[in-house]
Amino acid sequence: MKVGSTINIALRALRRNKMRSVLTALGIIIGVAAVIAMVGIGNGAKAQVEAQIASLGENIIQVLSGSTTSSGIRSGWGGAGTLKIEDAAAIEREIPGVIAVSEEVFSNMQVAAGNQNWLTRVLGESADYLDIRQWPLADGAPFTPQDVRSANKVCVIGQTAASKIFGDQQSAVGQILRIKNVPFTITGVLVRKGFSMMGVDQDDVVIMPYTSAMKRVIGGAVLRSINVQVSDANQMNAAQQQIISLLRQRHNIRPGQDDDFTVRTQQDIADTATATTKVMTVLLGSIAGVSLVVGGIGIMNIMLVSVTERTREIGTRMAVGAHGSDILTQFLIEAVTLSSVGGVIGIIFGIGASQILSSYAHWPTLISLSSIIVAFMFSAAVGIFFGFYPARKAAALDPIEALRYE
């Protein structure tokens, strides 16, 4: 008995019951499609988060000003204003591997031009900031280190803020923007960067030299944070430790006392974010996996019914020379064919569903080859697992009993 003939026999049997075959496979189709689509959504979210983290720039260490504790009430990050301009200078001077530093101050402020005004985020940064963030200009030029030293009244503007104030028609470059009645000349418009993973529109922003911001609009002498860029990813941990000890020393923090600042690397941010999306992927995938198992039980159910219903047929096959193993193989092949054909159709449907989700709901989806392969292997395995019991039952039938079965 050749395998080829058994496959032929099994396919003929499936073809005889087209409707039932389709309905049986439907469970697997839906299960596999759900797995593909759900894992696609999860992976898409993960990839988006990773892209957003990469958009922060490469090898970034953020030093955040610490919190104060006043009468037991703790303020949030930046509340204490413990970071000084000199701290930033010291980091740039003393920590090996540091290639760029940007002192950052921040405030939400009303900005105006002509008869338009708009509440936006105003960032004070060094001239290195746009390089650190890998954020090129769409139009115009950035402010220079000279502008920073002289606290010149210049700024660059994000796409959202620009279009809200100047509309989409005219270029913002060269326009005057009034912040707290101080006129700032816009030297450049940034390219669109999109939303951050916290949901903040990163393009709704005005960026100016931190010196100008501190002196002319925001005021104060302390920094909210310091962005540090390190040349090499391998130096990140060392640099992080060195920054911590440098700042403890500069801030006269005795051993055992808490830091009055926080140093976090891009990796810390990434770890938190990917952990969240990973949980989501696993959750979505396992819910979909349950439906795949239910599909498998559907196959077992139909195959069991089919063994009973086809008892006479099995008897006839045995009478004309089928071995028990032929019957076993036939029923197994039927089950595996149903589940793997269902798997292939499910993969196609799953990819289709992901495409629809990403084009209509604008959810990022990412179908990986590995998830397709795993889904297919799993559906075939479901066929073998759930097909085996009915197949064995069929193979064990006594030909005389089976022929007599009504």
């Binding site: 005889r16 009478a319 004309v320 020379g321 028990g324 032929d326 005389i400 022929l403």
Partner: protein, 253 residues
């Protein structure tokens, strides 16, 4: 064509154990059937003829005694070996036809070939199936499903299926049990034609007139052979068919 005996039973017993009671279905049957015979196995229900038929058909093994089929002792073979014997040397015709539903006549006939040891191409399968279908007068009905065929035609498909592997013996279990009298005679006509070509046929029936189409009758009672005789006044199916009024003629489908 080989000569001599094709089936030889030597003191065959079959005992079923149902609960505490032993049922002696066959109690010592010895029987020889020569090549080219047409034997009708008769008897009332409970006479053991069905059990004997199952043993002859290698569907069951005797409790004791020997069964020699085509010069080979098959009484001690295992399940799979018996299946191979059924495939190569035996052809079955059942009372209720036992065709696969929603399957064309051709595919039904191809079934034993699929379980054979030789691998045939689809074209070879088709060629063999169509040839035996033509032999039983079903030329042109190869693609019909059982539901599209009359009872007589279905039984002819079953006969074609029994013949497709060139068996040593065709075993028919009440082949006319589900058919009207005219169709029954038509089936007997086919059997007689096949037998004239030298094919050995063993047929179980409880109808004396159907048994009269055979050459030899074996009558069983209580698990033993009661009578074994050659039919003297044998019916010729072709002649009998002419006697039946032509209005009964089957309407063409």
């Amino acid at each position: 064509m080989k000569n001599g005996e094709v089936v030889k039973l030597i003191d065959v017993h079959k005992t079923y154990h149902t609960g505490d009671v032993d049922v002696h279905a066959v109690r010592g049957v010895s029987l020889e059937i020569q090549r080219g015979e047409f034997v009708a196995l008769m008897g009332a229900s409970g006479s053991g003829k069905s059990t004997l038929m199952n043993i002859l058909g290698c569907l069951d093994r005797p409790t004791s005694g020997r069964y020699v089929l085509d010069d080979a002792d098959v009484s001690a073979l295992d399940r799979d070996q018996l299946a191979d014997i059924r495939n190569h040397k035996l052809g079955f015709v059942f009372q209720s036809f036992n065709l696969l539903p929603r399957t064309s006549a051709r595919e039904n006939v191809e079934l034993p070939l699929l379980y054979g040891t030789r691998h045939l191409t689809n074209a070879q399968l088709r060629g063999k199936a169509d040839a035996v279908l033509a032999l039983v007068g079903l030329c042109g009905r190869e693609d019909h499903h059982p539901s599209q065929l009359s009872g007589g035609q279905q039984q002819r498909v079953a006969i074609a299926r029994a013949l497709v592997n060139d068996p040593e013996v065709v075993l028919a279990d009440e082949p006319t049990g589900n058919l009207d009298s005219r169709t029954s005679v038509e089936i007997m006509e086919i059997f007689q034609q096949l037998n004239d070509r030298g094919i050995t046929i063993i047929m179980v029936t409880h109808e004396a007139d159907i048994a009269s189409y055979a050459r030899r009758n074996v009558v069983m009672r209580d698990g033993l052979i009661l009578k074994d005789f050659n039919v003297t006044q044998r019916f010729d199916a072709a002649t009998e068919l002419e006697k039946i009024a032509p209005i009964d003629a089957e309407a063409p489908i």
